[in-house]
């Protein structure tokens, strides 16, 4: 993963009629990662996105996308960025292809390039057969997929997706998530808003959680998960044939192990880093059969809950 920061905000603030909707927001998105922007309804996610694209002016602070100021150089930002709004709209009387062609033209694509690009993105979202059907005949899910195609047709370096899986059936969700997860390989960074935590957990590398316009937390998903679950430590679950007190003592002495608890044949080991190799060696060296061992999985629910209980 690249370390280049392609999108950053500095104390980005927005007020509507005296209410602060986005409050001194500082987020950073690295190149070619999938970044999840989370938060309850009304947290300021969409407003943040509108400011990133220069569609709305911030009250104070600034946002930079690929080094361009979002407010003053919004045209350059919008040339590189594709945006899928939460409520997406198409010209209902035009076909899918005509809708995409219009966007391609607005991006100054030549006719051949536009057609090639349209064919490719329709293929990617699985709408090739519907290319020449009027959009008013599309189902909600098809429109959503056309929305993704619409974002990709301009060959963006960054895509901002607001609820990209809303209204899709489970199969459709999987297709779209796979598609989104594949974008970083094609040199496209993704910023995605979603309420469905498991989706975010599945494809996002980093997340930021917003509440009432303020940033609650930002960081890589793995770090945050461990943080939420065990105060930044690893929890390793070890199942052995026989958990003797002696074994507990030996494991407890391994460097980096903080705590060992025995529960039947299970040992719950809390460590500072991933010590699975050292633990398994200690178990086997003691002549005890090791049945299984795993690092306890956290879920984004844990992270989310933690920050909202605190907040």
């Amino acid at each position: 993963m690249g370390k280049n920061i392609v999108l950053e905000t500095r104390d980005l603030t927005k007020k509507y009629d005296g209410t602060t909707v986005v409050d001194h927001l500082n987020i950073h998105v690295a190149e070619n990662e999938v970044f999840g922007l989370l938060g309850p309804n009304g947290a300021g996610k969409t407003t943040t996105i509108l400011m990133l694209l220069g569609l709305t002016e911030p009250a104070s602070g600034s946002a930079r996308v690929f080094g361009f100021d979002s407010t003053r150089e919004s045209l350059k930002v919008k040339r590189l960025t594709g945006y899928l709004p939460e409520r997406l709209g198409f010209y209902e009387n035009l076909t899918a292809r005509q809708n995409l062609r219009f966007i391609a033209w607005l991006n100054n694509m030549s006719d051949e390039e536009a057609e090639r690009q349209i064919d490719q993105v329709l293929e990617e979202v699985g709408l090739v057969e519907k290319a020449d059907t009027a959009v008013r005949k599309f189902s909600r899910g098809m429109k959503q997929r056309l929305g993704i195609a619409d974002v990709l047709v301009k060959k963006p370096r960054l895509v901002i997706l607001d609820e990209p899986t809303a209204g899709l059936d489970p199969e459709g969700i999987n297709q779209i998530l796979d598609l989104i997860a594949g974008l970083p390989k094609m040199d496209t960074t993704v910023v995605m808003c979603s309420h469905r935590l498991y989706e975010v957990q599945r494809i996002c590398h980093s997340i930021a959680i917003l509440a009432n316009g303020k940033l609650m937390v930002e960081g890589a998903l793995d770090d945050l998960g461990r943080d939420a679950l065990a105060g930044g430590r690893y929890r390793i679950e070890v199942e052995t044939a026989e958990a003797s007190p002696q074994l507990v003592e030996i494991i407890g002495k391994i460097k980096g192990v903080n705590n060992v608890e025995a529960e039947g044949n299970f040992l719950h080991v809390t460590t500072d880093s991933d010590l699975r190799a050292a633990i398994s060696k200690a178990v086997v060296d003691n002549g005890v059969a090791l049945i299984q061992m795993k690092v306890q999985e956290f879920s984004l629910d844990d992270i989310y809950k933690r920050y909202f209980q605190e907040g």
Partner: protein, 296 residues
Amino acid sequence: MITIIRKELADYFTSIRCLILFLLVVVASAAALYAAQQGIRGTGTESGFIFMGLFTVGGAIPSLATFIALLVPVIGIALGFDAINNERSTGTLNRILSQPIYRDSVINGKFLAGMITLAIMIFAAMLLVAGYGLRMIGVPPAAEEIIRLFIYFVAVVIYGAFWMGLAILFSILFRSLAVSLLCPLAIWILIGNPVFNPYVSFVVPAVTDSIGTSLMLLRISPYWLFAEATAALLDPLFRGLGILTVSDTTGMLLRPLSLDQSLILVWPQLTALICLTVICFAVSYVVFMRQEIRAT
């Protein structure tokens, strides 16, 4: 911007709305042609402008000029009333604005595309009447008549653009299609329609008895400006737009004015019309550019 004009035009020409408007224009032209056929005999002989009679002569059925004065505002309003708020409510406005285009090219494009559509409709109606009229009366138009008709055509397009601009302004201000349609229609009924115009027939006479003041007040109405301008353009015998006393008219020769004299007569009206249109567009432009896109 060209792309937006292109798309808007394609939209207009494939829409049922435009089809209906075109039908309306064709029916009006046919009716006006019929009226001209009934009434044209014996007219225009004193001025020598027979061909132009096709556009101005009417009897029980009004002339094309009357039809146009009635229809053009309606066409303008019909073309403009949903320009922005419809795109806003379907979500396409955000989609366009997140593309690398200047924000004003959206409204400029819409305005220009509407004007082109309007111009094509009026041009079609006039050509229709001119063509069939030519067959009917067999008198070719003089060069001056063609120039007068062309200036008339330009005036009509500007007049229509005024109403379209007004409708676009309301479509920016209001989110509801019904409101943005009714507002310009209400204004049209109050001060802009030629058939029954409360402003012209009640308000102005009630406010003042003086002819001078009432003329000034009447000229606030874009309809009145348009009516005066076109009257002088289409009728070379038309002498004065202000007050003509008996002493002014006695001894006045009933000979047609030359083109440049007619133009001098209507120049203030034309300028005022252009001004109104520009103001309408400018206000729309400013409001649109300042309007914030909000997360709703």
